[in-house]
Symmetry: C2
């Protein structure tokens, strides 16, 4: 035991942060601690004193102090619980939601902690699901198309409103005083590493996937930014950095202050920041092409590796070395998955099922899953489009919304629940087919996140609808494990870790034995229904009938009437 | 008071029958009694002893004994409650759901009471909403089109699966032994009048609207029926009657037995049977063109009078003298209205609203109405197609089903409730426009039935969406009042009644003072949304995308797998 070494991974999620302490030799998780952010997602009013500052619809902010509190609460807790000595912790890695970004002073102080800016919503952290920058994204896309910017193709032809420069441009347009006051604009992922190490170190993963950067070409040219807005011309040099550090590197060592926060020794190796989804790939045993990793929770992120550059329309993007060094990392996503089921359970299930769940001492999801599992594929007669939270891939359109078709007077809640699961599976199949058709083959799915743990019916439906075998990671905290793995690589073999992620993965990552294989009869029925899903997907999603956008527009107009 | 005369109307609904006793001079309702059918709608298994006889999906039957029990329970009750002497009751009228039909022996004995046939579902009363005869309706339509049968145009080009010969052909095809055993096939409306008077008297309203009969041409020719099925060639002469009696006539006098059931004097005038919807027209003060009567309950029936014959595609039909003598009565309908709201309240509203309703001592509909009334038109962002129970007009297609579009993670139950109300109003507008465009102008709407009483938000939404002023009948029992009015006409002036319905209506029928006028701002928004409703209506309803039918087909296949 004396020679055993440990690493810690900290995963910053949407509502909480969690730390996991793992054994470097085998990836075994010794202890876990969670901190629920005190302000969670700020989407109604700023948490400030005095007159309330209300937020517009589609806004989603966070408080950077919640991230520091995550370190202070969780790392001492995992040390305590495991009994591991800080001397034996060789490395620390973090992963974050993205693009989650904030404006700071040159020393890293977030603008939102300064009295002058605290009541301005634009000074706060814009969370990944902040959806109020669509008009800026539209401008970014239109300008790039007009200027024939090649980099646009890397992102499936469309930049999302969730991404870095959409949010940056929104700050500039709506709060130029915040833009001017910001010495730095950066990902929260890089900001927390800065707080740990004292080093402003920008990671290649968020730069590549969210900020239009590539290893070969860097950022778009200044003249492109100037075309967006003359004040943006020098945004890279003025507020960002052209020095992008590849993932797998060491960002620095823990400062004395951060050592005090966490109980770790000063100088402990800290890895370059990573994104929660991407860091999960090696933690899901995947370091080679052909095996898609799907992180399925409130939303789903799909990642797949390829040896060569490929243009896949409608995917989120691909980044060389973005996930695993030496390979192109392709990313796609569904903006609403578990969130849709949660919406349904909270908003559309009658009391009889709530009462039955209580009586059976079951979670309501589990009860609905059990009832929905009694149904055969197609038996509900329902077909849904899984766009309750817009569509990320392959349509890249936050203005789309949910559709349910086929309801009768006999339709029951478990039928709708199943149709919503099926809809998200059809959405995943649409993404898989986009990759497959464009030279990035998808042979199997390795899943992680909350949903595969909780819902076996969902897993079987996904296997039946995608026609792929589904596997599940053994770890329940895949991103945190992945971060810890990168922590061992930051430390390196000399300190008892690994020199590359290729060495770390086979030792530290594992899959469960149970897998989900497609059932041929179910596949046949779902193939029929998928044809109709695709027709509706294109009809409502590709501009044949823009009714969803018109309804959203009218809804917006109402609020201003 | 000694000279005052009274009439009784009995209205046979879907779940109950109700009698109203009214003052002939002014239509004042002195007493009401309701009988809830002991077997209500039989849609799961026959109410027979021994091994259960389960029904297929889409079946809906009734027990004819429930109708006789209605007379026995309600008429004595209204006499008792009002204190009116049977001597002063000059007439009795009845109205019924339609097409609600049954097979009987030559003496009127229903086949379902005979031990030989009681366990055969086809021997029972087929209720209007029995929807299992679609393939027969398809055959009736295809054959009529092939033979260029002119009468098909009177029914908007399509016969419904709910109608008389669809149900008749289903009996013949699926239970030839029942068809053979039936000496008579007739509407339950005419059957109850037969039970009261001993006279088999077939009314012009159901014959015209449900059995392809017209005053000028009679029934379709025997060769048409032979083309449907050789065994059906002589159905009219063998099982029905060519002698159709116009509404407003006297069917006969009460038999001694019926007098004993009811407590009325033998010989009391009994009117020719009528349909619940159609009998409501004069009871809603309408005896002239231009004013549409909408009976809004679980489903909605729209009736409008016109001076001349007009072909209106997709309406249920028109019958000369079918509603008011001397005029063409046009009918259209929506097969699900209140039923859709009831489905929603029972199946898709979470506990918080149930609890709030309980706390506020409100009906859940009333609570949702209150919350939905806070929203502006279009504010929900939702758009629905009101086809939870198929579409009667103008698509005439039971295989269509419901659609909800525009849901987001922020969508709440009152928003969906409002969208469903709006959807049914768009459905009504579609019907109004079909009439308007085809030479049957609709200037205002006179409403009756359960919904206008209960839901003011709904009334305002209907006014805003249709762009018409909405009025409401003063009576809460419009069909029963209409039946009583026809009872006074059956008695005639000589017995203290009226000679025509034109004389009875102004004396006995009244509207409420409160009306609902369109709000121009709401109209403008709803006009925009209606354009989208119409696009989706035609896309899903007119064969551009038959996904709803395919989903229903797959659902049906599941049940057989």
């Amino acid at each position: 035991m004396a020679n055993r070494k440990y690493a810690i991974g900290v995963d910053f999620g949407t509502a909480s942060g969690r730390a996991v302490l793992v054994d470097v030799s085998n990836g075994k998780e010794l202890s876990t601690a969670i901190y629920k952010y005190s302000h969670s997602v700020i989407d109604e009013a700023l948490p400030v004193e005095g007159k309330p500052v209300r937020l517009e619809p589609d806004w989603a902010l966070q408080d950077p102090d919640d991230y520091i509190r995550t370190f202070k609460r969780t790392i001492p807790a995992v040390l305590r619980e495991s009994g591991v000595s800080p001397e034996d912790v060789i490395g620390l890695g973090i992963d974050f939601t993205a693009c989650t970004m904030l404006p700071t002073l040159a020393d890293g102080t977030p603008l939102c902690v300064l009295p002058d800016y605290r009541r301005n919503p634009h000074s706060w952290v814009k969370l990944w699901k902040h959806h109020a920058a669509q008009s800026q994204a539209d401008k970014i896309n239109a300008t790039a198309r007009k200027m024939n910017e090649d980099w646009l193709n890397r992102y499936g032809g469309k930049i999302s409103s969730e991404w870095f420069f959409s949010k940056t441009l929104q700050i500039l347009e709506e709060a130029p005083e915040i833009y001017n006051a910001a010495d730095r604009l950066l990902e929260a992922a890089d900001w927390v590493v800065w707080q740990l190490t004292g080093v402003e170190c920008r990671n290649s993963c968020t730069a590549g996937y969210k900020a239009m950067w590539s290893k070969r070409e860097g950022f778009p040219q200044d003249n492109y930014f100037a075309a967006l807005d003359p004040r943006l011309e020098h945004v890279i040099d003025q507020k960002m950095s052209r020095q992008i550090v590849p993932i797998g590197n060491r960002a620095g060592g823990l400062t004395a202050q951060a050592a005090k926060w966490t109980g770790l020794r000063p100088g402990t190796a800290v890895a370059v920041a990573n994104v929660d989804a991407h860091v999960s790939v090696p933690a899901a045993t995947v370091t080679e092409p052909g095996r898609m990793v799907a992180i399925m929770g409130t939303s789903t992120c799909h990642m797949i590796l390829g040896p060569t550059e490929r243009l896949v329309p409608g995917i989120c993007g691909y980044v060389e070395d973005g996930i695993i060094p030496g390979l192109f990392g392709f990313e796609a996503g569904q903006s609403g998955v578990g969130d849709i089921f949660a919406w349904f359970v909270d908003n559309a299930v009658p009391p009889e099922y709530h009462n039955a769940a209580k009586k059976q001492k079951k979670d309501l999801h589990a009860l609905l899953e059990k009832e929905a599992a009694q149904l055969k594929p197609g038996e509900s007669g329902l077909l849904a489009l899984d766009w309750w939270n817009g569509n990320r891939s392959v349509l890249v359109d936050v203005d789309l919304n949910g559709l349910l078709l086929g309801a009768t007077l006999a339709t029951k809640a478990p039928e709708i629940y199943r149709a919503l699961i099926e809809a998200t599976a059809f959405g995943t199949r649409t993404i898989i087919e986009a990759f497959d058709k464009n030279g990035v083959p998808v042979n199997e799915l390795v899943t992680c996140g909350g949903l595969p743990e909780k819902n076996k019916l969902l897993m079987q439906i996904y296997a039946d609808i995608t026609g792929r075998e589904l596997k599940v990671t053994a770890s329940k905290q895949t991103p945190a494990l992945g971060s810890a793995m990168f922590g061992t690589v930051a430390a390196g073999k000399s300190e008892g870790g690994y020199d590359t992620i290729f060495e770390a993965a086979p030792n530290m990552a594992r899959l469960k034995k149970e897998t989900f294989k497609p059932n041929p009869l179910a596949q046949r029925v779902y193939n029929q229904i998928y044809a109709d899903y695709s027709t509706l997907h294109d009809y409502f999603g590709r501009g044949v009938n823009d009714v969803m956008k018109r309804m959203k527009q009218i809804r917006g107009d109402c609020r201003n009437r």
